[in-house]
Symmetry: C2
Amino acid sequence: MLNQQASLDLMFQALADPSRRMMVERLSQGPASVSELAKPLDMSLPAVVQHLQVLEASGLIRTEKVGRVRSCTLDTGALQRAEQWIHERRALWERRLDRLGEYLALSEDPKGHDPT
Amino acid sequence: MLNQQASLDLMFQALADPSRRMMVERLSQGPASVSELAKPLDMSLPAVVQHLQVLEASGLIRTEKVGRVRSCTLDTGALQRAEQWIHERRALWERRLDRLGEYLALSEDPKGHDPT
DNA sequence: GTGTTACTTAAGCGAATGCTTAACCAACAA
DNA sequence: TTGTTGGTTAAGCATTCGCTTAAGTAACAC
């Protein structure tokens, strides 16, 4: 298993490309085949497959081949980990701003010392 | 102003590097100077500055130079937009799974037709 | 069988990334 | 004024990325 850091690397990297995000958007509405995913994109099929490999390596999607079509589905567990990472940093920062606001509100010194 | 797509590109791209995420983690606890951010990282100062440029271009941080030190702070608005994008896709997918579950539960045919 | 469809594999190429070192500059300190 | 600190700029370089075309292969349709 990959460590947490490397796994976030792959996920954010995967989400950094607009074509790949478009695939994720499509997959958020339900499973799709490779050529369905390729249809709205202006690039060759091998290029699409390469994007899919990036998404799969990142854990954001899973794929399964049935007959000659490969079916792709979103893995929301991975999405959730990425969302969680961002959320935690944001929460930390906002809690800090809250503390700062409280301090300033309670402070008797109108000029305020920076409590950081 | 950048369009939504390009802006997400830059944000996710910025978050895809572990050194940059480390800087964001540090900044989530309060503002810091360039050399404070550089201290835990095993690379030259110019390299750190280049990472900061990526973060600033993505909108994730803002910086201001006072005297000879540059102070960096997190911009949670940008973080929130990235979090929101992920959250929406995930929510869509999970709502779909719920509908599917309901359908299967209500179905009179024990084998179930796939309603997708 | 003979197609046609749905990918897959391989090789190559230009551009972008993540670093480096060397040299520079501007603020403050003695 | 002479250093030292905190960054900045510029150039170069190896690697990775996003694409291409060309040539497979394996499943299904007739």
